[in-house]
Structures are given as C-alpha cells and as structure tokens.
Symmetry: C2
Subunit: 668 residues, 2 copies
C-alpha cells in the first residue's frame, strides 16, 4: 500500500531564506552548464592569481631587489605553469576515468586503499575550510583598507559574509552558480582588459615602470637553490583549487565528463595565461613586493593610470573574486563530506540532502568551522596563510599516485578488454604508459612542493595542519569502527530472528492527580496489561495528597508510594523497575507517564519535563520501554484538539474541562 | 505499599565538589546559630562601612576640602545612623510578626497585595545579583591594585571567585556559614582594634592628621541642600544588606524569631558603631577622598603607622569582607526566588532543594546572572555602583509601608484578641500606634532616599534598573498567568473524570530491518493491538530493500511504504496518523519506534536519533502516543544486558547476535 503525498507549506523564516523545498526527482535538473560551472568551481583557482606572483616576489626579494634576482620570477612562473599543466592533464584523465565524481578521495579509495583515501579526505576538508577562512579574511582586508573605520568590525563582517554565503548555498547550486558567475566573469574581464592594454603598451613602447612603491625591508639573504625552491613553492599557491572540478563532476550537466573536462581545460588555460601575464607585466613595470601596495595594484595603476576608473575596477574585481573563491569550498566540502559519510567515516547525517537538495549539514559544518577559524585568528589573513595549501598538495600527490596505479591496472588488460572496477569501468588504453608517467611525474613534483611548504612554513603555523590531518584521520577511523560495530550488533544475517510476543507489566508514573493523569490511566487501561501507579515521594505531604486524590478521582488500580529520602526522582524508579525485571525475566516493563506539551519553548521550560528525564534515565535498561503520553496545553488556558478535523471522544480523558479553580496540579 | 530506599552512590565530580546527598529529614538541622548567622547574613551590611564614609566625602568634596564642609559628614552619618536604627527597628518588628521568614516580599504580599510584593521581589532579586557583581568586582580591584600583573585577568578572576563561592554554597548553608564566619570576624576584629587604638590616641592627644594624600579634583560647586542630600543618599549605601536577616529567618536555629531579632540588633549596633567611628576618625585625621587611596587606608596608616602589620591586616580584612559580602546574596537570592516560585511567579524548579538541601537552581541562577553582569561590565566596580542600592531602598520602602498597614490591622483588633492572618498570627499590641509611626516614618525616609538615588544617578546607569524592575515584574506576572492557565486546564474539581479504556491502533516506524526492528515488532506484538509497519521512503532504493528484508526476516504484519518526495521524515507520518484519527475518533494511535542507545554522547550524535525527532513532531497531536523502544549498543560492538542481574530471555528480540557481516542497518 502506498499513500499519495500532500504538500504542506506554512511560510516560515527558513522557507523565506532558503526557498521552497524541492522534490527528490528535481535532483537530475539541479546541475550547471560549463559557463556557470567555470564560475562555481574555478573562482578559487582563478583568485589565487591575485596573490601568487606577489608570493614569489616576496621570497625572491630576500636576496635583493635587482632585476636579475626578481627576474627569476619568470622561469619560476613558467615552471609552475608546466606543473599546473601536468596536474590539470592528470585531473582530466581522472574526470574521464571516474565520471561519477573523481577527486583525490575516490581515486585514492579505488586504487590505494582506505587509509590513503582518508588522508586525502582529511587534507581536502581542512583546505576547504581554510579556503573559506583565508579568502574571506583577505577580501575583508581589501574592504577595510578602503574603509578603515570598519577595521574594528572585521571579524563581524567576515562572519556576516560567511553567513550570507551559507544562505545562498543552502538555496542550491544552480541559483548560487548564477549569482557567483557575475563576479567571476567581472574579474576575468577586467584582468584580460588590463593584460591586453598592458601588452599593447609594451608593444608601442608606452608602458612606464611603476613609481613610488616603498619596498619591503628584508635582511639580505644569499640567492641559494633553497630560496628559489621556496619562491617556487610559494608561487604554487596559484594551483590551489585546481581539484575542485574533478570533485564536483556530478554537478555538471550531461555529458558530465566531457563538460567537466572541457571546463577544467578552460580553467587551466585561463589560469596559466593570467598567471604568466601578471608575472610578465610585473617584471616589465619592475614591480616590487611592498607592505602597503599589492602587485595587482601596482600593475593596475601603471597600466591604467592612478585614479582611473579601470584601475578602480581592477582592484574591485580582485576583491570580489577573493570573496567568491570561498564559494568553491561551499561546492566542494559538502560533496566530499557526503562521500566520506557514505563510506561511514563521517557522521551519516552528512549524506542527507536538505529541502533544496543540497547537503545542508555539510554546508552548515563548513560555515561553522570556517567561522571558528576566522574568529580565533581574528580574520587576519597573514596568520591563516601558512596553514593553507599543504592540504591541497597532499591531496594532489595522493590523487596522482592513485591515477598512476590506475593506469598500471589498465596496462595489465589485454587490448580492447573492458573490466568493471569498483568505482568505474576499466578499459584498455594504448597510451597508458604515457598517462602513467604524467601522473607519476606530477605526484613527485607536487609531493616535493608539499614537503618544501611544510618545512619552510612549519614554525609559522604549518605545524598545526601537520598535527591536524593525522588527528582527523584517526577520528574518521574511530567513527568508521563505531558504525561497523553497530552494524555488526544489528545484523540479522547469522541468526533466525525470534519474532514472538512477551508479557508486559505496565507502570504509570504519577506526580499529582489531574486531567493529564486521567489520560495516562486511560491509555494504560486501553493497552490492557496488568498495571499499577507509582509515585516518588520527594515531598511526603504531596505524596499523601496524591494518594487521596487518586482514591477520589481514579478509584481503581494499585497506588504505590516509593520513598525518596534524598529527593531523587529517577533513582528509586530504576530500582523498582530493576526488581521487577529480576523477578520476571521474560517480561517487558512498560513505563508510562504524562507529558505536558506547551505551545512555546519558554512555556515548556517553566515545567519540569520529568518525562524527558525519565526517558534518558531508563533508556539504558534492557527490556524497559518508556512511553510519554502527551497532553496539550494551549495558550488560551485549555487543552483542546490541535486540528479542526480531530474529533476526540467525550470525557476528560481526551478533553480537559474549563474549571475555575487553580489546583497545584501543574507542578511537573 | 511502600518500598524501602537503597543508597546508591558512585563517586562523581559532582559528589566530590558538592558533597554526599543529604536526606530530607536533615532539613531541620541545617540551620545556623546567632554567631554564624551574623557572619552569613551581615557580611554585606558590615562590608558597606568600607566605602560608605568615603561616598559621603566624595560628594561633599565637590564644595571644597575645608574642614567645615567635610565636617558635615558627621551630622550626615548621624542622620543615616538614625535612619538605620529606624529601619532596623522596623525589620525587628517584621521578624516577630513573620516568624516563618519575613522580608519585603512576604510583608508586601500579606499587607499590600500581589503587585507590590512582585515589585519588592524584582527589586531585591536585582540587588542580590548586583551585590555579588559589585562586591566581587570591588574585591578583585583590591587584589589587582596589589598585584597589577593580574589586571588583564580581572574578569576571569572575578568569575573564578563566583564559581568557587557557588560550589561552597551548593554544599549547604551550615558549612558555608562556618567558612564565611572567619573573614567576617577577622574584619570586625581588625576594625574594632583600629577604632579602639584610634580613640585611645585621640584621648592621649597622640593621633596625627593624615599626610601625603592627593585629593580628588572636582569643579567646585556651591554647598547646596541638594548636594547635602546627595551626600546623604550616597552614604545610605551603608544600609544595603540590612534586610538580609529578615529574609532568612528560617535559616536560624529555634527559637528562630528571637535568634534572628537578636542577630539583627547586634548587626545594627555594630554597623552604627563602625560607621560613626570610621566617620569620626576620618574627620579627626582630616581624611580627604582620593583617587589613589581609600579612606580606610588613610585611617589605617595614620592610626597604625605606614608599613605596620596592623595596617596591612586592616586592608586585608577590608578586602576579604568585600568578597564575602557577596555571600549574603547566596543566602538571600535562592530563598526569595523559592518563595516567589512557590507563589507561581518564577519557574517552579526554583522551589526544589538539591542534593545538599539548598535551592540549587537559585544558586546556579544567581551565579550565572552575576557572572553575566561581571563579564558585560568588565568587572569594573565604578560601572556597576550606579545600578546598585536602588533596589534595596525600593524594597525598604515597600516593606515598611507593609508593616505600617500590618500595625493598622492590629490596631483594629480588640485588646487581647488573636486572629490568624494569611501569613502570621495577628495579636493586639497596645503599642501599635508607635510601631505604625516608626514604619511609616521609615518608609517615607527610605522612599525619599530612593528617589534622590534614582534622580542623581539616572544617567550614570540607574536608568537600567528603572527599566529592569518593571520588566521583571511583567515577566513574573506572565509566568504566573501561565501557571494559572495550566492549573485550570488540568483541574478535576468541576468534572467527574471519565476513566475507561479506548481502542488502540499500533503503528511501527521502520527504517531498515535489523535486530532492533525485531525487538520493536516483539514489543508491538506483546501489546496485542492491531499493528502495521510504516516506512517513510526518503530513498526509494532503501524502501525496496526494507520491504524485501521485512518479508525475509519478519514475515508477518502489513508493511506500508509512505512516499516522501521532499525527503521529509515527520510530515508524511503526521498526515498518515491524522487520517487514522479522522477515521477512528475513539482510538489512541500508538506510534512505536526503535531507538539505539549508545554509551556516550558522541556515539549517540553519530546516529540520526529520529525517535527523538518524531517524539517532538508528534507530541502536539491529540490522542497520539509515541513510544521509543530502546536498544542498547555497547562499545564492544554487541548489544548486551546492562546489569549483571538482568536476565533477558533468549532470542534476538532481546539479544543481538555476534554476526560478522556489516549490513547498512545502522543508519538511523
């Protein structure tokens, strides 16, 4: 038998903010095309061009501000671009190999096992959280450098932006995709205009060098290979966010793999052009790293002229893309958390889709954790940066190692052979050797970059991530073993279940005797098993009154008074129940009590709600079942049926009378 | 039938901090004698001598530092002492008239009605909270002036002291009385030694004037009557705390009234002697108010000599009594809150005595509210002082007005007549006219002081109390009407209760089919009413698997799948239940579901606990009873009886098997 559903939609604050619930069948339609997909999944990667060149120059400047030293930024940027191309090609292979959602987690799970997969998961989740914290802190810093009077409220502004972003994302990916595509394309437009004008002015010989920049002060260091490596690893910040598309394949319209792969290629090409272009222009205008002016600003005012509208648009677009980069994590974190939760390594609730078909728990968890980082670090970007990017490079390394193993598997197949693997179809590919080499080379490169990162930034904060990721992996496995233990305890496969009836002893817990008590007694009588009433005598006078009222108003059934010299409520009941269970080993003890239900939380808080306390206190006893019989009290002062159609029978057992006196019966 | 109680006492942190539970019969013994009563109830009043003289001098100094101006402090102190004597005499009358606990609240309730009583209650509760916040902040300020490196942690220290004081008070009044009597008597000893030596040195002509004090800077004001009145009202801070004994009569050993009255007289005498003595000595040594040195310190070093041990003891004793003054509120607040809660104007929970027979909820509420004031105000005494004392004088005024009405009632009796009043015995007293005049005069004086207070300190913070007290009174009445409404709805006095059995329709909510499901089915079968199983198809694949498993493992009963296109759990069940209720108006709908019970909160949080959600969601439906059947999962991975004596029957319905496979049955 199947009952047809009915819509039921009172307008609440939740509905206003989040939107109408979407049916599950809308899931297939809740996807994005390539244009919006680029905006949703690439804003993190693209935004890193706003600071990657500067990070290289900051390290190189330690060895001096001469053009020959800072000029090393160009080969470094080319090397990073090559690495980026390798990683992008490797991820493109992943997108085709794992069309149901790839990313480091699934690739590692399929090819390397549970432990590497969980390490990749921990690394990526950490970095998603940090992306939100870093990007929004950096964006707020841009706002507060323009409006210094807002500086004392930077934490509040950052948390406010996180809240706004959370609401937008809870509405669902398509709408948030549309909203977030505007700033991404705005940023791309102004950056390409800036690069274009810059190139034209170079060709016409009209581009001046930057003037009036106060360079950073550094203790001069020798130009060693280590320093160049450090500059290289710092510049690799440009690569954060590249993995977002392969994690989010399922968010793309069909054909998913082709759309996602094409978006990835576009993103990589745009990223490399922007990154190389900015680095070249910076070199051309002889930009130097400065405490007070970003390299983007130096480029902007040199190309467009100080005070021009295009200069302001360049800065504005950069600020916006930094804020929007955080949105990549809102797409990536909940999906990855749902995957891990589905495997039983994170709480199962993360797999549930909310009203708007998004993973609401994951979005909420990301918002809370990122807000915590922002609050603890006081929304200071400099404090967050050293924690950042290690996780991404760890996941790059694991993912590409996994793809190398995957290609080795394919190499073992006969030509033309197709085998169904755990996650995807394995199909012979004559180019498996080349692909395996690309992935292996990428894994080695990103692994080295990660190690350089961790070593050079360890004392500045990277130690926290080095400790956090193993701790998270440990937690994930503890959760996993818990779920496994529970599943084992609940399994029916090994035994013939013994379905049969037991005897039942009903106990009614009575405080005072009033209309609610009558309802509880009626329910106990309706069940038809042997029953008696228990009263815990916290107050002996009240116990006597309850006994007298019982005789007067109920007049049947045994009324047992249990003394409680220490005024405990649950202890004496537990003992009484335990004694019954000892006497009758094949009996369910069914404890029934009334529970006054109020209209509001505050009204409810004015009552003792002892039913809830008993439920918790007796829940750990085997064979004891606790039932609360609700009795609704409404604000007009009467108990009434809550529904117009609800025709209750006559009598106080279902309806309370409108009596004028005020007995002390409400004290529970 | 009465079951004998058994002691059950696992050692917990609570037991370690608070002590062993005390039986209710110990209540009568948990009282204090006069010596400890003075320390418990008088430390607030006595501590105010530490700053009352200084408060007078600060106001007078606005008109200049000449001896003729500052000398006005002596007639002002005498006037305050007379007022204090009048108030003390009035409260002594109250103690005899209301031997079961007097104080402004009961006197007002008995003579003036509900509204004045609640105003007095709101005023006193506010002032108890402020007493804790002010006294502890002032005490911490003394500590941090001695140890300036602790200044950044003043809020933490203040909250820590509140916590310590809370634990001591949760242990019970007798123990806390003993602990707190030490600093009170230490303070009294050093102050009387100081006054004694001072008087001897005056008589022998060897007391010098104070040297080296940097006076406060003030814009000189003319010496007006208003300024003198302001100085008078500031000095009236000496009177805060006088009402504590009459509120706490029941804490005294029998004969309560005589012990309490005698303690009150002792307190008033000591207070007047100290206050006048300090004011006289201050005048003699020509003390001036200063930003950097208190008047007590000026007296101490002039009488004992700079750097002497007695000077240090004087300052130490003053610091201690300031901290201990807060303890008066720990005695007063919970008692008054319990009184008001007993009348239904505050949550009923405040009337419950905890393990150690004290009103634990009241103590906790006081600690939380005082901590909130300390945290919000940054533990700065100067910010808190203007809020303080208005409440006390409002309650003085109400209380003495009530006593005047009380005496008028007595005056209407015939000589020798005795009438039982609401709160106390009314007995003719030939001196009723004098007593009535004393109370009336006291009420007028304290009323004027209160108005002067409120007017002169309004903008400095008194406005908050002027707004807060009416708001509290409004809240108290809202709570009161709520309790009255509930009592009316539950009353059985006007109707013959209809005790009889109804039919019952049992519904089992099933997620997956596993060992817990078997137990739920067994319980439903044991109840013996018509039953069917419901599954909410949030995930259609899971629904199909559940239906198949049901057939395989349970094999009986109807299995109904309810579609849920919007993935809601409770909505579809509500509708289904509502339809049954519409069809069968004389039936209880009994919803049964399993609930996995874990060992720890964190394990519990890994499961959906949908049983709790359903309980909340269906609790407002009339005639619907929700039962959770607990199924215990223990950490070793199996379900087992929780108690050695608990002999469960054979079969999976009570015990889970130790199966090796891991089905997905744990996802609820």
């Amino acid at each position: 038998m199947t009952v047809p559903p009915k819509p039921h939609a009172p307008l609440t604050l939740k509905r206003l903010l989040i939107g109408e619930p979407l049916p599950t069948r809308a899931l297939a339609h809740q996807t994005v095309n390539r244009v919006i997909g680029l905006a949703v999944f690439a804003s993190d990667a693209l935004s890193s061009t706003a600071y990657a060149t500067e990070e290289i120059l900051i390290i190189l400047a330690m060895a001096g501000l001469s053009a020959s030293v800072l000029g090393l930024s160009i080969p470094i940027a080319v090397a990073i671009s090559v690495l980026l191309a390798i990683v992008a090609i490797s991820y493109r292979q992943t997108i085709y190999a794992y069309p149901n959602g790839g990313g480091a987690y699934i690739v590692a799970r399929d090819n390397l096992g549970e432990l590497p997969a969980q390490i990749a998961g921990a690394a990526l989740l950490t970095d998603y959280i940090l992306t939100v914290a870093v990007s929004i802190s950096a964006g707020v810093a841009q706002i507060t450098s323009g409006l210094p009077e807002l500086t004392p409220y930077r934490v509040e502004i950052a948390v406010g932006i996180i809240l706004l972003m959370t609401i937008i994302n809870l509405r669902g990916v398509r709408e948030s995709g549309f909203i977030f595509s505007i700033p991404t394309y705005f940023f791309l437009t102004v950056m390409f205009v800036t690069l274009g004008i810059g190139v034209v002015r170079i060709l016409t010989g009209s581009l001046p060098t930057v003037a009036g920049v106060e360079p950073m002060h550094h203790v001069a260091e020798p130009l060693t290979l280590f320093l160049v490596l450090r500059a290289f690893s710092s510049g690799c910040a440009a690569m954060t966010g590249v993995e977002a598309i392969s994690n989010g394949i399922t968010a793309f319209k069909e054909p998913r793999s082709r759309n996602a792969a094409s978006t990835l290629v576009w993103m990589a090409v745009i990223l490399i052009i922007l990154f190389l272009g900015i680095t070249l222009l910076a070199h051309q205008i002889e930009a130097v790293p400065s405490e007070v002016e970003t390299v983007i600003s130096q480029i902007g005012r040199t190309v467009h002229g100080q005070g021009s509208a295009l200069y302001a648009l360049t800065l504005g677009g950069t600020t916006l893309i930094l804020l929007m980069a955080a949105n990549t994590s809102y797409a990536g974190f909940p999906r990855l958390a749902a995957l891990q939760a589905g495997d039983g390594f994170l709480p199962r609730q993360l797999t549930q889709r909310g009203n708007r078909l998004v993973f609401s728990w994951g979005i909420a968890a990301l918002a809370l954790l990122a807000s915590a980082f922002v609050i603890v670090m006081g929304a200071r970007t400099t404090a967050l940066i050293p924690l950042y990017a290690i996780g991404v490079f760890l996941s790059f390394t694991i993912s590409q190692t996994g793809m190398a193993v995957h290609m080795r598997k394919i190499g073992r197949l006969k030509p033309g052979e197709r085998v169904q693997g755990l996650e995807a179809m394995l199909e012979y590919d004559p180019r498996w050797r080349v692909k395996m080499l690309i992935s292996t080379f990428g894994a080695i490169c990103t692994g080295i970059v990660m190690l350089v990162f961790a070593v050079t930034k360890f004392t500045a904060g990277a130690w926290f991530v080095v400790v956090l990721i193993p701790a998270l992996v440990l937690l994930f496995f503890r959760i996993h073993y818990h779920y496994k233990d529970v599943a084992k305890a609940l399994s029916l496969r090994q035994t013939r279940p013994d379905v049969h009836a037991y005897s039942v002893q009903t106990l009614i817990l009575v405080d005072g005797v009033h209309a609610e008590t009558v309802r509880v007694v009626n329910f106990a009588k309706s069940l038809g098993h042997p029953w008696k009433a228990l009263h815990v005598a916290v107050n002996p006078q009240k116990a006597e009154k309850a006994r007298a009222d019982w005789g007067r108003y109920i007049g049947e059934g045994e009324f047992v008074v249990i003394p409680s010299p220490f005024r405990a409520l649950t202890g004496p009941i537990r003992e009484y129940v335990q004694n019954i269970m000892d006497e009758k080993p094949d009996t369910f003890v069914h404890v029934i009590m009334g529970h006054l239900v109020m209209d509001t939380f505050w009204e409810q808080a004015l009552h003792q709600n002892s039913a809830l306390i008993f439920n918790l206190a007796l829940g750990d006893l085997d064979r004891v079942v606790v039932t609360m019989v609700p009795y609704q009290i409404h604000r007009n002062g009467g108990a009434k049926p809550n529904h117009a159609k609800d025709k209750a029978p006559e009598g106080v057992g279902m309806h309370a009378p409108a009596a004028e006196d005020a007995p002390d019966g409400s004290d529970q």
